[in-house]
Subunit: 153 residues, 2 copies
């Protein structure tokens, strides 16, 4: 997988969490994802077309997304309700949009569909594609989140 | 939502189930989806761009997808394992591709990302978009499945 396509998603996630939710996310070590076990309690998924075909997902642990939404809206949230799911969709849109703008600067033009949000304890996510799936784990003071990017070869 | 965009997805789902898995699916009454409760035990999700931006999902009850995969591979399957998840991704790809070919004939050109498969009891799916979300329920002798299509206005 082309690192030029991956790094902008990593930078976008850090940037969006910081500017929108005032949360510092510390990136961990990216790894190739082999299995489809759940990486969080709520996930945003978005399909990508254009110069590369694939999908991006971001999965939040409950503590992390509740802290994000509390900071976004200025009102305390402690459960994954419809408002939180909408916020996950918005974060997914913003991170994908931020990454696409960074890639546009490198002459790589990607389009995105609309996000879908999945919630449920122990849900699993499997990206169906012909290339590798890269998982990028992040830590925040309130819990972790993971960005996954998968493209066709 | 433009019925010209919706009907081809309905026809594609019936056609793919019949030709690939030899299963007759009886369409129920389509409805506008207001809430995000789970419509199945395993779902395929695909993002759509081009003339319309949105997402399509297909959620299978366990009995239905096990019958589909049993017919596809000619070997009995009774749990949602990695093979079944891959098959859900393939069915999602095929239904979306079939619908896109039908739409192409009407001069509507859509592109699709790669599918993502979500499994988990009681998982919920929320399409984030500015237009309505149409749910199309189907019945088969082995259980039901639901196709959902959501586009931005």
């Amino acid at each position: 997988m082309d690192a030029r396509i991956i790094n902008p998603f990593l930078e976008a996630a850090t940037n969006v969490l910081k500017t929108m939710a005032m949360i510092e996310a510390t990136p961990g070590k990216p790894y190739l994802k082999k299995e489809s076990r759940a990486m969080g309690d709520v996930s945003g998924i978005i399909g990508i077309t254009g110069a590369a075909q694939g999908s991006m997902s971001i999965s939040f642990e409950k503590g992390c997304i509740c802290a994000v939404v509390t900071n976004l809206f200025g009102a305390s949230v402690d459960e994954i309700n419809e408002e939180v799911k909408d916020a996950v969709g918005e974060m997914t849109n913003m991170i994908c949009g931020d990454a696409r703008r960074r890639l546009e600067g490198d002459g790589i033009s990607l389009q995105a569909g609309t996000p879908t949000v999945v919630a449920g304890q122990d849900h699993s996510i499997t990206h169906i594609h012909t290339g590798p799936c890269l998982a990028m784990p992040f830590e925040t003071p309130s819990g972790g989140f993971t960005v996954e990017v998968a493209f066709n070869d």
